[in-house]
Amino acid sequence: MSNSTQKLTYLQAIVEAQREEMRRDERVILMGEDIAVYGAQSLFDEFDEKRLRNTPISENSFVGVGVGAALTGLRPIVDLTIASFCYLASDQIINQAAKLRFMTGAQLKVPLVVRASTFYNNRTAAQHADRPYPLFMNTPGLKVLAPATASDAKGLLKAAIRDDDPVIFFEDITLWSKKEEVSTDENLLVPIGKAAIKRQGSDLTIVSIAGCLPHALSAAEALEREGIRAEVIDLRTIVPMDKETILTSVAKTGRLVIVDNSHKVGSVASEIAAVVCEEGFESLRKPIQRVAAPMVHVPYNGALEKQLFASKDRILSAVRAIV
């Protein structure tokens, strides 16, 4: 196990994860529309077109092609590029990928990874800016990931590729260009189903999802200056959820703010709130606060768009309501 690192952006980390896994295992292939444009360009130098498939614009079918390939010995990564397109493929993801193992009495396995980037705060308007994590939470059979750092993006994607079950991997484009030192160890996986405590604290718990993390951390810093110690948890895996880390933290702090860029109603934040209210009720001292996108669509106008999503200030005002 090597200890060396290299400085990578979140998007580069994703490309490196794919490169390493494609080298390691010839069953891994990558499919999607114009994949070279979405970061995979450098993979074309190393792998041939057999394993790098530019698809026609046929989301439901090319995801289903991934399912069929996964059933028959490959380990496909299917890049939906923009997460708003997942509704076109939700039939193959939900009715097939998520259900086939169960429906065949566990005769089959579906080692499929579907990548989708949440394309918000980017002035592309409502048909491109969805953060549809909730779509895949409610169906059993899927694992749903949403890393917030380059290291986690790499380690989780590698874990997803090696996992024998279907995994939806959400990439947050507000993080794409964020750089950090990332391990070059080819076997360093980030475990699916484990949240990360990014900052210890005892006064209040902030659970953050995907691109909310930088805002949660700056809110925590600001609070620190006021003497309020916030614990910041990066959820990382949406399904299956690491209830234990959240409940342990809330047992300590008694206060919970959840920061989630999906729309508030039926959000990941809603599920976390429900779990804590069910299983951690006795430790809760104040109402749970959800900082989420309001129930309006994402507008084209960039100034308005920005206000829908997580920010240090919105988190702070939620915190103020309970401390």
Partner: protein, 326 residues
């Protein structure tokens, strides 16, 4: 490229197994969508395949694994919802999936099999084997977007896939004439630059011949083919759906039952070739197989709640082995 004697008998046997399997369902456990009347299309297509070739099917799922040569007992137990069923009683009548003989998915979502069969074709191409993938689907399914999306992808990549339409003329109560811009399914092939061929789906050996041609094209890198087998469903859409309207005439139904029964037609062919004794032996064998299968299914235990959890994931994470009922 014609069948030898033992293959013709195997073909007849498989067709008869489909028929008798479903007659047993009608008698003992009337669920589901029957393939009675469509046995020549299914059997003729499957006999052109090897065991390691892939098949995907539909809600009308009984015929495909039987046609592909699957063991009957686990299929029957599945119909009865039993733990010894091929899918442990979790999949049921629309989902008789038997990967041990290459049947990798029976989709009750109409059109759901197109991409999966195409993906199996992609997998074959990437892994470099000489398998093929055959996709069964109905006339109604061709109006799903996945049909053209998938056929096009297979055409672009020259995948070894055979798209095999069991055109029985109707989707539930909707005729092809009322749901297709023009009624010939095979004519859609040209738009994607692949061969499209029509065959009499009540003639088992004719079906075999066109399928074999498509299989050979696929195995040798020639890409996909669209086959339209004209066939007929003798029974109602499903044993469980009441149909309050007359969408096809009684005369039409009785014509097919009387004149175009694929089992009767193929039996006559074999008898005319002097194979009466063999045919009768097969008839006795099949009857015994089905009887045993029904007994096996009836005696088998039900699945248990814990099985539901056990069958969810290959790599379970953060999941209690059995969450109880909540």
């Amino acid at each position: 490229m014609s069948l030898d004697r033992s293959q013709t008998l195997e073909l007849f046997s498989r067709m008869l197994r489909i028929r008798k399997f479903e007659e047993a369902i009608i008698a003992y456990n009337p669920v589901g969508h029957l393939s009675i009347g469509q046995e020549a299309a299914i059997g003729g297509a499957c006999i052109a395949l090897r065991v390691d070739d892939y098949v995907t099917g539909t809600h009308r799922s009984h015929g495909h694994p039987i046609g592909k040569g699957a063991e009957i007992k686990p299929l029957m137990a599945e119909i009865f919802g039993k733990r010894t069923g091929i899918c442990k009683g979790l999949g049921g009548s629309m989902h008789l999936t038997d990967p041990s003989c290459g049947v990798i998915a029976e989709s009750a979502i109409v059109g759901g099999g197109f991409p999966i069969a195409t993906g199996a074709g992609l997998s074959i191409q990437v892994r470099g084997t000489d398998q093929v993938s055959l996709c069964f689907f109905g006339d109604g399914a061709t109006n799903q977007g996945t049909f053209s999306e998938s056929v096009n992808m297979a055409a672009v990549w020259k995948l070894p896939v055979i798209y095999f339409c069991e055109n029985n003329g109707y989707a539930v109560t909707t005729s092809v004439a009322k749901s297709h811009g023009q009624p010939e399914i095979a004519r859609r092939a040209d738009g994607f630059g692949i061969p499209g061929v029509v065959v009499d789906g009540q003639d088992a050996e004719a079906v075999y011949a066109v399928t074999m041609e498509a299989v050979e094209r696929a195995r040798s890198g020639g890409g996909p083919t669209l086959i339209e087998a004209k066939t007929y469903r003798f029974d109602e859409h499903s044993n469980r759906l009441a149909i309050p309207i007359e969408y096809r005439s009684k005369e039409e139904i009785s014509y097919y039952r009387r004149e175009r029964d694929p089992i009767i037609l193929y039996r006559e062919v074999l008898v005319s070739r002097g194979l009466s004794a063999e045919v009768e032996r097969i008839e006795a064998e099949v009857a015994a197989i089905i009887e045993e299968a029904v007994a096996f299914a009836r005696e088998s235990p039900d699945p248990e709640m814990g099985d539901l959890w056990d069958c969810m994931f290959s790599n379970p994470i953060n999941m209690q082995p059995f969450e109880g009922q909540d």
